[in-house]
Structure formats: C-alpha cells, structure tokens
C-alpha cells in the first residue's frame, strides 16, 4: 500500500511542480482535473453536485486529488507537523498536507485560544496550578474524559514536584504522555502500520454502533485497497437498515469493487459472509471487507449475531488474516469506551478506526479506548470523500488534540 502511495505521491508532486511553474506567469493555479479512473467513477455515481449551484459544497469533491492551496499558514503548520516527525520535506506528499489542513480547520477556534495564548501570557515562568487547570480544560473539552485527564495531569504534577518546569516543557511532557498511551497498543501489536497481507486472504470486519461511519470507512478502504493493487470484495452484511445494501453498493461501484449481497430482506448476515468468503476463496481475492449493521452494545441479541458472524469467519477462513475494526465516531463522548469494551468481547476487536475528525470534535475518548481496552487506533477518517482516510499517527492526533 505504501509503495503504491509513494509512487502516486511522486507523480502528483511532479504535476504540482508543473502547475507551480505555470503559476509563475501570474495566474493562480487552478485545481487540476487529473481525475484517476477512481474519481471518475465517483463523480459518475451520484455526487449529484448540480451545475446550477456552483457554491454547492460537495463532500465528494474531496475524491479528486488534493490541489495546491495558497501557501498559507495551514500549509506551513502541516509541513511543520510532518517535519517534527523527523521527515524530510521531500517525502511529504501534498495529500498529507491537505489532510492535516483539513484536520486543523476543525480546530481553528480553540487552537488560537489555547496554548499559544497561554505561552504568550506566561513566557518562561514556571508552571502554576492555574496553567494546569487550563490543561485540564483543554483535555476535558477534547473528550479525553475525567479519568484519563486526571491520570496524565497527575503525572505532570509529580514531575513538577521534582523540578521546575516551564509551560513549554509542560506541554511537551503532556503530549509525550498522551502519545505514550496511544502508542502502547500499537507497539504491543507488533504491527506499526496496518495493511492487508499480500497473496493471502484478509478479512476485515467493520463493526460499531449506529451511524458512526462503518459503511463510509469501508468504501474508503475498498478504494485504498484498489489503489494499492489488492483484489478486493465487499460483503454487504448489514441486512437490516433501510437501503444499507444500496449504500454499500454505491461505494463498491465507486472503486469498481464487487459487492456480495443477499437480496431478501432481513437475510442472515452470517450467510452473506459465508457467500463472500466462499467467493473470495474461489477467486483468490486478497481482501474481503465486511460491512455490518450498526448496533448499540447493550443489545444482547444483536451482539450475539455479531459474535456469530465473527465465528463464521474464523471457521470458514482459519488461515485468513482477520481484522475486526471498531469504528468510533470522534464526535462521541465517554460512551466510546463502553463500546470498545463490549465490541471487543463480541467481535474480538483488533483495532479501531476513528471517524469524523474533520469536525471540531477531537475524539479524545480514543485515548481511553487505546489505553483501557488496549486497542490500537489504525485509521482516521476526516471527511465524507473517498480519500478522506489515513493511517493513524499518534503524533498528528495529539498535535490536533492540543492544537498548539
């Protein structure tokens, strides 16, 4: 997946350089319309942005390649974030910068409010309890939760007992703590970056409560898989929700991925999965993405149904690499932890996808989920477009969370 992305990145950069050269003549660089076959199929399948409404926002416009925006401070910020990861400017793609920019837009308000202002006010004076209160506020407002917030602030307090710490150092320490909590399960998994294994059957199961973005995430993953050269198949195992099959079918069409569905209403999801795995095995498909119906973790029978799906997968494809991914909505609060605990039990979770990070919510509950449920965050979703999915990175996440 990575090589493929890198190649694409290179190609894109060359195009951009060309555009930049053109731009020297004075005209602003127009967003290039270099649509890949993927994005063509996207616009073909009903983004429906009508010509009559030019101001019409179309989330799917994101499907197009990112275009070079003004050399503004979002751009610089993003570049800084990436550079701080120890990466050279050359191996940073525009896609990444665009992505970070989008992440940051959601943070605009509080970002200005918090740390910069704080640092201005305090200069090099040692950290005071009031500053700690400000930290607390930031964490709580980011949905980190009282318990996890107490935990990291306690660590900071202990540090303060030992030595004098200035605010900048305090913030650095805080970030380190938070990153630690997020990285722990990733390190423990031994897989720093999740990707399907080549030449082998991979089954990725998308689970979660209602409306969090399971189907959308699956659509994005299918696209990523196709772009990365995997053969892929979708199992439409949400047989319950109105028009769920049509929805996932549209996502499949967008990337040219076949969808296995059972046309009869309220069909058994396990039967759909059975069919899909059978088809994948006979065709030698590498990745089967399974869409499941949203369910609240308190619904016993629905959780049982999910456990059954999970068992079927293990039984039919004992040699497959199975990922069971909890889709978590970043705009949700403390209930996220309960979701993680319950789904871990029923679906044998192996990881988490955090969606809707393009909003102003920070998804702080992911910290508790990573730490207490021991689940690695694998991807983040930041938009409704087909490309708005990205591997999780604790550095970015924490930067965005505290938005310095």
């Amino acid at each position: 997946m990575l090589e493929q992305a890198a190649a694409q990145r290179r190609q894109r950069q060359q195009e951009l350089i060309a555009i930049a050269e053109l731009a020297d003549t004075g005209s602003a660089p127009a967003p290039s319309e270099t649509s890949t076959s993927t994005s063509t199929s996207v616009s073909g399948s009903g983004s429906g942005s009508p010509a009559a409404a030019p101001a019409q926002p179309s989330p799917l416009a994101d499907a197009a390649e990112p275009s070079l925006g003004a050399f503004d401070d979002t751009f610089t910020w993003s570049a800084e974030v990436l550079a701080a990861q120890g990466r050279q400017l050359d191996d940073i793609s525009l896609e990444e910068i665009d992505w970070l920019g989008r992440l940051r837009r959601g943070l605009e308000k509080t970002r200005r409010g918090f740390v910069t202002q704080l640092l201005d006010r305090l200069g090099d004076d040692p950290l005071t309890p009031e500053v700690l209160d400000d930290f607390e506020t930031t964490l709580l407002r980011a949905d980190v939760g009282v318990q996890a917030t107490d935990q990291v602030l306690e660590a900071l307090r202990q540090r303060l007992n030992e030595e004098v710490v200035d605010p900048a150092e305090g913030i650095r320490f805080l970030k380190e703590q938070l990153r630690g909590l997020l990285d722990e399960p990733i390190t423990a998994s031994g897989v720093p970056l999740l990707a399907p294994e080549r030449e082998r059957l991979n089954v990725w199961l998308m689970v979660g409560v209602n409306g969090v973005g399971k189907t959308t995430t699956l659509g994005k993953l299918a696209n990523l898989a196709v772009r990365s050269g995997y053969s892929c198949l979708i199992a439409a195992a949400d047989t319950f929700r109105a028009a769920a099959v049509q929805q996932v079918q549209i996502w499949g069409d967008r990337s040219g991925v076949a969808v296995i569905a059972n046309p009869s209403a309220n069909a058994d999801p396990a039967a759909v999965v059975y069919d899909a795995i059978g088809a994948a095995q006979s065709k030698g498909t590498e990745l089967v993405l399974v869409d499941t119906a949203g369910r609240l973790q308190t619904k016993h029978n629905l959780m049982e149904e999910l456990a059954k799906v999970r068992r079927i997968i293990d039984k039919l494809a004992p040699d497959a690499a199975v990922e069971s991914l909890l889709v978590l909505d970043a705009s949700q609060g403390q209930n996220g932890l309960r979701q993680a605990m319950a789904f871990a039990k029923a679906a044998g979770l192996t990881g988490v996808v955090l969606t809707k990070l393009d909003g102003s919510a920070r998804g702080g509950v992911a910290i508790a989920v990573a730490h207490e449920a021991g689940l690695p965050i694998r991807f983040i979703g930041a938009g409704e477009g087909i490309r708005d999915l990205r591997p999780f990175n604790s550095f970015e996440f924490v930067e965005a969370l505290l938005a310095v």
Binding site: P50, P57, P59, T137, D329, Q334, V365
Partner: protein
Amino acid sequence: MFDELSQRFEDAVKSLRGQDKITETNVEGALQQVRRALLDADVSLPVVRAFVDEVRSRAVGSEVVRGISPDQKFIQLVHEQLVETMGGANAPLAAGGTAGAPTVILMAGLQGAGKTTATAKLGLHLKDQGRKALLVGADVYRPAAIEQLRTLGGQIGVEVFSLGTEARPEAIAAAGIAKAREEGFDTVLVDTAGRLQIDTAMMEEMVRIREAVQPDEVLLVVDSMIGQEAAELTRAFHEQVGITGAVLTKLDGDSRGGAALSIRKVSGAPIKFIGTGEKVEALQPFHPERMASRILGMGDVLTLVEKATKEVELADVARMQQKLQEATFDFSDFVQQMRLIKRMGSLGGLMKMIPGMNKIDDGMLKQGEQQLKKIEAMIGSMTQQEREQPDLLASQPSRRRRIASGSGHSPAEVDKVLTDFQKMRGLMQQMSRGGMPGMPGMGGMPGGFPGMGGFPGMGGMPGMGGMPGMPGMGAPAGRGGAPKPARPAKKRKGFGQL
C-alpha cells in the same frame, strides 16, 4: 464506571450528613462530584460550570427542612435544578397545519445523528394522530439517502417526495412544499443531509433550505452519545439556522445523555422527542425528570416510584415486610411478589429504572427473566403445603425429585434454587434487622442512594420492600422499606450468579 461514579457521588454527599446547614465550605466536595458526574455524562464543560455555580448558590444557606438531611436536600436540589434547566412539561410538536397550509418541519444535524430515521418516526407519529404527512428527501449527498427514506416511508405507509440527487436540496424542499399544498397534506417533514457545524458551505445551504421552506419547526437531531461537541453544535445551528427544538436519539443504549442539558442550556429550545430504537415506532416524548436521573446515574427512580405507588397495595408491603423479618417468606409469597412485578411491567423495564441497574444489558435481563420462569415452573409443581413450608423440601429428596421432573428441570437445578432461596431468606432477615453483611448473590442496586427519600413523593419507596431476593436472580436489594436504608452492596454481581 457507573457504579464507581454513583458510589463516589454518594460518599461525597455523605459528608453533608450530620451538618445542620449547607455552607459554602461543606458543599464543595459534593459540588466537585456533581461536576464530575456531569462531565462523565458528557455535559459540555461550560454548561457544567454554569450549572455547578447555580447549584452552589441555590444550595448554600438553603433551609434544611425537618426530616430531610442536608445530603438528601442537596441531591434533591441538583435533581430539581437539572429538571428545571431541561424544561418543564414535555413540549409538543408544532401543529395547526391544514390541507393547503401545511406545517413544515425541517430536520437538521450532524452526519449519522439519526435524522432520516427520526423523519420517518415523526411521520408515523403524525399518521397515528390522524394527520396527513409528506416526507421530503433533500439529502443529495449521502449514498442511497433517498432510497433509505423511501424504504422507511414504505414501512410506515407515508408518502415520500424527492427529485433525485441531481436537484438542489432547497429546490427539492420547495417543490415538496408546493406538492403538499396542492395535494392536501397538512404536515411536511424535510430530511436533510448531515453536516458539520464548521462546514460553512453546508451551513449556508441549510440557511437556503430554511428560506425556501419557511419552516414552523426546525428540529436539531442529536445523537445522545455525543461528547463535548454538543454545546458548540447547538450554538452554531441555533445562531445560523435557528432551532425550535431537538430530538435526542439512540437513548436505547447506555449513554448518559448529558447533551440534553447542553442543548437546552445553549439554545433554550426544548428537547421534544427521544429516539429509543432503530425501528420506526421507537419515538417517545421527552421527560426532563427521567433525563435528570439518567444524567446523574440514578436510574429512572421517579418513574419506578410512580409505578410502585400505583400498583402495590401498601398493606401487602407491610405484611411482606413482616414475613421478611421473621424469615417466614415462603414460595407463595414469592409467587405473589412476581405477580406484583408483572403488573408493574416487564422485569427488564423495571430493572432499568432502578439506580445502578440501568446499565444492565438485555442479556442479563433475559437471563434473569428465564431464571424467573424456571423458578415459576418449579413452584408450579409444588403442593400448597410445600409452598408454605419450604423446609419440607429441604428435608425430603423425593419431593425435590418430583418437582424436578414435574417442572422439566434436573434435580440439581431444583436443589440450587432451594439453597438459594434458603440463603436469601437468611439474608433478608439480617437485612431487615439492619445489618447486611456482604449480601452475597444479592448483587442489587446501591440500596440507599442518599437523598432518595428527599424526592417529592418518594416516601419510603413503597412496594420496594417486598422485592428483594428473588432467588437465583441476584435481584436488586431495593430500599428494604425499612426507615434506615441499607448499605449499598459494593460488589455487584449480575443476574443468575449466586
């Protein structure tokens, strides 16, 4: 987290016990815990702060009435303040539309909040009231959004109008209104695409839709699992679009629903309905008192009390109490208790209203209900004599075998139920005497949530006295009916784990 929370809350509030007055200083610890409870319930931080300040100023110096201790008074204040903030009686939907001049209701909210589902639920609600509603599908972005609305419209038998995904949302909405006027619909429900409040282009589109349809009602649909975002979300939609009410969805889960407080506090608009399931029937009016208890993690105490008072004869309770104390509670009493419970509704519905029990999941409930059925079947195979003298069974294995085969259970199962029953009798006896060691297997609620006696109409929680100890169920301890509430059982086991 829940249990821990209520426990901590309780401990903090207890510090007020024995004080003759609530003061600035002695109330701080309790306020801290209120703050924490609200944050855990996902109430937005600025709202929490304002709320805690209000409670403080109301609590400090408040007269402590005879018979109510300061801790009870405090909880009562917090609860009252929550109820007041979330609004009094539940607010109805704008009505008055007639054929030719329909009422227009516009649905708005974040992605995945439940707008489309709520549109259909409201459509059904209106239909049930004999109104003629038209659903308008103005979400042209989400894949299959219109098909989703059409499917739901088909399920409830309410017409759906749309112009496909190639038209502009505002044009679809306007055309929908025109159609409704012409064809004699009296209400129009407009479903729109999910949007982030920080997405200016999408928010502008929402304003254009509003201008095109001139709604009588703009309902903000909010997922009850939402976090700190609730306040900002509400503010943005209220300032830019103007909301007249809200629908809080997915309350069938175990979210604490603190958003209800944030929404009301920020916009002043009432929560009009709650969504309690995926099915189109799962819509209910909003009750501030119930929400207040839920946010505080107290369970739906008031509803339970209402029911209990209505259904249970006080005389029965007193008699049962007596039997408990004397450990003469027998199987016929048990059957009677079960009948009471059934009259009060399903076991599940009942348990969920009990503080600390509302996190019970359907699985545990099902297990509990099955357990009850099992016991009922066994009792069905007992003679009257055996029912009244459980000791007979204990001493004669042949009787136990007969009951086993008569009720279709194994002798071991019967033995287990009997042992549990005996244990329970012993425990109940101890309990009603005041001491309550460990309470193995009772796994119930925190017996005496402080201040529960302070709620209006909550007296001694009539009817609860008889409930403790359904063998095999690990039933809630209830309030024991005794004047002095029992210590909460710290370790809670689930159902069926004796």
